[in-house]
Amino acid sequence: MKSIVISSVVIALLVLTGCSSKEPAVDTSSQYESVEKVAPVQSETVSSDESSVMSEDGSRASASDYASVSSSDSMSSLENDLSTIYFDFDKFNIREDMQNNIANDASIVNGAAIKFSVKLEGNCDEWGSDEYNFALGLKRANSVKKSLVAQGVNTNRITMVSFGESNPTCTEKTKDCWAKNRRVDFKLLP
């Protein structure tokens, strides 16, 4: 009798532990409960010590490289001549149809713009603000850099930055728009 009880317990335990499904189960219905917002809160101050952090304002941004770039007509007109390089979805290799643009850019960088440094800005479409997306933007900038260097541009003249998805030129939700945002822009620095 005792062994029957024990066996029953063992079988029950086996049944209970062995039946779990390994398929990811998803509840799509009523899973979200949007909690009602209570107040339109603007930037508030909790205590004096937090508000004092706010002293870091936009003044620094306006004193950035771009202000000096726009102050120089020749630099900005040269910048306009430099073609943006576009990329495929989730890729950072330079497309066949972009080779001419790169060659044209390299000739400008090594010609009329020889006295300036070049800043390559890598950008992505809107699918994610993660570090990976920033890295993808950077790898795009790096592909352009390698190509420029291969065409004779001094590597020390080139700096790179990635803006991830945070610097879109187009904000509509269309395929053309996303394609426009997968790009590397050229900026000239004195």
Partner: protein, 416 residues
């Protein structure tokens, strides 16, 4: 035989506490709670704000069926409102404005007309009433004997994109009711709390010639530069004691993970792969989890800090882009569709390094930037769906998701 039975029972218990196994909804079996307002000070608008905040917090606790009806009852009344007489619990509170302008809250919980819990709260600035509401919910959760919800009282720091190359860093409560802009102007992203006490944070500034990592002490409002790197300079994780940082730097355009010792200021390179290695996250004493495209697509890997061998952690999904760890658990973002010409779906998944279960945590939209709470009880994430940016909270053990929409802008990244 006894050993066998004990062994099997141990397995049962182990599986029962596995967060990757989904809990069936228990709505019917949850106790009911109603809230009674006995406030005499303050206008109706403020009273309703507080009431709604409290109701929202009680809902997020996920341990009650919360009655949303606002009823006013005298604080000292012996009986609960007639409509609430069948409720398992009645929470009665009174907002009192003191002479110096501070907000006082008297609170009691009644069960069948018996008072079972009493507590008073006070806050000098009534504008941050939501933190009182969160603290009340925290205490009730504790009173009910549930696992602590420490995260409820913590602050969230996030970066909000307001225009191309323009962002602000915001400190908020988890519901976004309270918002305080700490860094305005410029292009500042990837904020990360520098310690558990949340008295300082790191962030990446893209306004300088090179991306620069900065440190801000909230108490003193002093900012200092930690370092800069060509291409990328992001603080991905801070060790529990705040002494070590995992950075993503990209000197020569090559994104790799580095470890920075806050005390000695020594940086050591942890990954050397020629592709993309980003988003390092501490796991255990001497391991990290990170995102890499070393298999030709982004996926989650782990490595020991002191060795070069790398282990693949996730075998589901062809594009797993970001992750967060807590103990044996890893939550990661996975791309469910791969389409350059249509809306893509990104969902969050939870795995355990001890088992091969996968639990999908979200269903629609772009869900990203998952971060475990300090106690592992909840996951915070960013949800972008139909042009609305929200912060989401997933209660793992209760199988509930809550969304808190942002009024304007788009959340770029956050930390909890």
């Amino acid at each position: 035989m006894k050993i066998l039975i004990s062994f099997l029972m141990a397995i049962t218990v182990a599986f029962a506490s596995d967060a990757t196994i989904e809990v069936i909804k228990r709505v019917d079996s949850l106790p009911t709670i109603a809230v009674e307002d006995s406030s005499e000070s303050y206008d109706n608008k403020f009273k309703m704000k507080f009431f709604k905040s409290l109701i929202a917090d009680l809902n997020v606790l996920s341990i009650f069926n919360v009655d949303r009806y606002h009823r006013e009852v005298k604080y000292d009344a012996n009986e609960v409102a007639y409509e609430n007489k069948d409720m398992d619990y009645v929470l009665r509170y009174r907002l009192v404005k003191s002479d110096n302008g501070s907000l006082n809250v008297n609170l009691k919980i009644l069960t069948k007309n018996d008072t079972v819990f009493v507590k008073n709260y006070k806050i000098n600035n009534p504008k941050i009433y939501m933190f009182v509401s969160h603290t009340i919910a925290y205490d009730i959760n504790k009173f009910m004997g549930e696992d602590p919800v420490e995260w409820m009282k913590r602050k969230v720091i996030f970066s909000r994109i307001i225009a191309p190359q323009k962002s602000e860093l915001v400190i908020a409560d988890y519901t976004l009711e309270y918002q305080h802009v700490v860094v305005k102007g410029g292009f500042n992203i990837f904020p990360k709390w520098a310690n558990k006490e949340q008295t300082a944070f790191y962030y990446s500034s893209l306004d300088e010639k090179k991306p620069t990592l900065k440190y801000v002490d909230i108490k003193t409002a002093k900012s200092k530069v930690i370092g800069s790197s060509d291409g990328m300079m992001i603080c991905s994780d801070v060790s529990d004691d705040g002494s070590k940082l995992l950075l993503t730097k990209a000197p020569n355009g090559q994104p790799d993970i580095y470890m920075y010792d806050v005390n000695t200021k020594i940086t050591s390179r942890l990954t050397k792969y020629g592709g993309i290695d980003v988003s390092g996250s501490f796991m255990g004493k001497d391991s990290i989890v990170f995102v890499s495209d070393r298999l030709g697509y982004p996926n989650i890997f782990s490595k020991n800090i002191n060795s070069n061998s790398v282990e693949q952690m996730v075998y589901y999904g062809k594009s797993n882009i970001s992750c967060s760890t807590f103990g044996e658990y890893i939550v990661y973002k996975s791309r469910e569709t791969s389409n350059a010409f249509a809306n893509n779906t990104f969902n969050l998944h939870l795995i355990s390094t001890e088992t091969d279960f996968i639990r999908r945590l979200t269903a629609v939209g772009v869900n990203e930037f998952p971060r475990f709470s300090v106690d592992g009880d909840a996951i915070i994430f960013i949800k972008n769906y139909k042009a609305q940016s929200s912060i989401g909270i997933i209660r793992l053990n209760h199988n509930k998701n809550y969304l808190f929409p942002l009024k304007y802008g788009k959340v770029q990244s956050l930390d909890w």
